[in-house]
């Protein structure tokens, strides 16, 4: 630190005004000033040259900001470029065409033909499946009955017949008995046994032949409801059967079954109504008879 004296005090005074002195220099200068009052007056005159801080505002400060205060706010017209895509055109409604009488007739004929064709084509499949279900169930019963009641001499015929019935029923059985599986069905009596293909049901239960045989004669001709729980496996071994009396009964049962199976084909579905074919035939016969009578009357005249 440089000592203050009468030769260098002015430099200290100017640095004091410029606030460039440290604390020690300031203390030394103030002490020197108190010792020399004339230097104190000089200090005051130099302090008067110091400018007071003025608050002068920049008049156009807003112009200096970037992107915050836009200088010129131009009127912007925002135009959506794809405006044409937004336009919608309402679809024209289909005009109502008033059909003439011949067009109405043609449409009615067409609908009648289509309905009739569809009715008969659907009717055939329905009848077929219905008959097959019936015959299949009856065949099962007949097999059981025949195998139980018939001796070994007649078992071949019965099996053949039953197989035929069963083959006829295979077409529709797929629709009715979906859970059935083909399995071997053993028909045994004593030591002899024949293998007959028969439907096996997983939840098969054992039914005695006497129950099956007693059930068939009581069949009254109505449609048999065949369910998957129909007995598939029949055990006949423990029975002691009378061979002489059973063949007649068996054939009668088979005929009954055949007539019942045939009777299921008698109905015809006309729309939602089921009409018996025999009634149709009767009507046609009566009509023919009336026509024939009229012709005969004309001929006689």
């Amino acid at each position: 630190m440089q000592n203050i004296n009468l030769h260098n005090y002015q430099d200290f005074l100017l640095r004091y005004i410029d606030e460039e002195l440290n604390l020690r220099e300031i203390e030394a200068l103030l002490a020197f000033v108190t010792l020399h009052p004339a230097i104190g007056e000089e200090l005051e005159s130099l302090q008067s040259t110091k400018l007071d801080i003025e608050s002068i505002a920049c008049p156009n400060k807003a112009l200096l900001y970037k992107n915050i205060f836009p200088v010129i706010v131009e009127p912007t017209t925002i135009v959506y470029p794809n405006k044409q895509k937004l336009f919608k055109k309402e679809r024209e409604k289909a005009p109502v065409v008033f059909l003439k009488w011949w067009a109405v007739v043609a449409a009615a004929v067409f609908i009648f033909i289509v309905a009739r064709y569809g009715m008969f084509s659907g009717e055939a499949g329905k009848d077929l499946s219905k008959n097959n279900v019936t015959t299949n169930s009856i065949a099962t019963n007949s097999i059981a009955k025949n195998n139980v009641a018939k001796p070994s001499s007649s078992i071949v015929n019965n099996v053949t017949k039953n197989n035929a019935i069963e083959n006829a029923g295979l077409l529709a059985s797929t629709n009715v008995l979906e859970n059935q599986k083909m399995s071997t069905y053993t028909v045994g009596r004593g030591g002899a046994s024949d293998i007959v293909t028969q439907r096996n049901i997983p939840t098969a239960s054992i039914v005695t032949a006497s129950e099956t045989a007693s059930a068939i004669p009581s069949y009254n001709g109505s449609i048999i409801d065949v369910k998957p729980t129909v007995i598939a496996e029949i055990t006949t071994a423990p029975f002691a059967l009378n061979e002489t009396t059973e063949p007649k009964e068996t054939s009668a049962i088979n005929e009954t079954i055949d007539t019942e199976a045939a009777s299921s084909n008698r109905s015809v579905m006309v729309g939602a109504f089921e009409i018996d074919k025999d009634k149709f035939r009767g009507l046609f016969r009566k009509a023919n008879a009336l026509f024939k009578n009229k012709e005969n009357n004309r001929n006689e005249k």
Binding site: E20, S45, T49, L51, S55, I56, C58, K61, L64
Partner: protein
């Protein structure tokens, strides 16, 4: 510096730069032009200027713009009298301040700038030297001469009377 820093510099330093320029020139419109030029230069070079040095950068640019402006005015010799320009002249209210600013007008540009930077902005000798491209000793000597000149002007017999 970012755009945000720049705008913050405008908020903080625009008045200071303007005061520095208008006290030197005593002409508001010219001062505004210089301030705007200084900030425009800062905006152009904002990527190379650090935010904490924005103030000294602005004063440096403004000082050199001031020097250029003064030299150009002298060369053209069409400089209007500050006193005659009633619309743009900086109005002094107090007599003492008016005398002091008259005394400032007697200084040259460098001395006046040094006084203004020292008194208004509180820059040190070193900082003033960076702005004005002078050494610290030059700043100190020039500034002391300016003070003495101002004092002599203030204590002159004309001002006392």
């Amino acid at each position: 510096m970012t755009e945000k820093d720049y705008n913050e510099s405008v908020l903080l330093y625009a008045d200071n730069v303007y005061r520095f320029i208008v006290k030197n020139l005593r002409h508001t419109e010219d001062a505004e032009d210089i301030v705007q030029s200084a900030f425009e230069k800062l905006w152009i070079h904002k990527d190379s200027v650090e935010p904490q040095k924005a103030k000294s950068y602005l004063f440096t640019v403004a000082y050199h713009l001031l020097i250029d402006h003064t030299r150009k005015a002298k060369r053209i010799t069409l400089q209007e009298s500050f006193e005659n320009d009633t619309q743009t002249a900086y109005q002094e209210n107090k007599a003492l301040k008016k005398v002091l600013h008259d005394a400032l007008a007697t200084l040259n540009e460098t001395q006046r700038s040094l006084v203004l930077l020292k008194d208004y902005e509180g820059y040190s000798y070193e900082e003033i030297g960076e702005i004005t491209k002078l050494t610290t000793d030059q700043v100190r000597v020039y500034l002391h001469r300016a003070r003495l000149k101002l004092r002599n002007y203030l204590i002159s017999p004309q001002q006392v009377l």
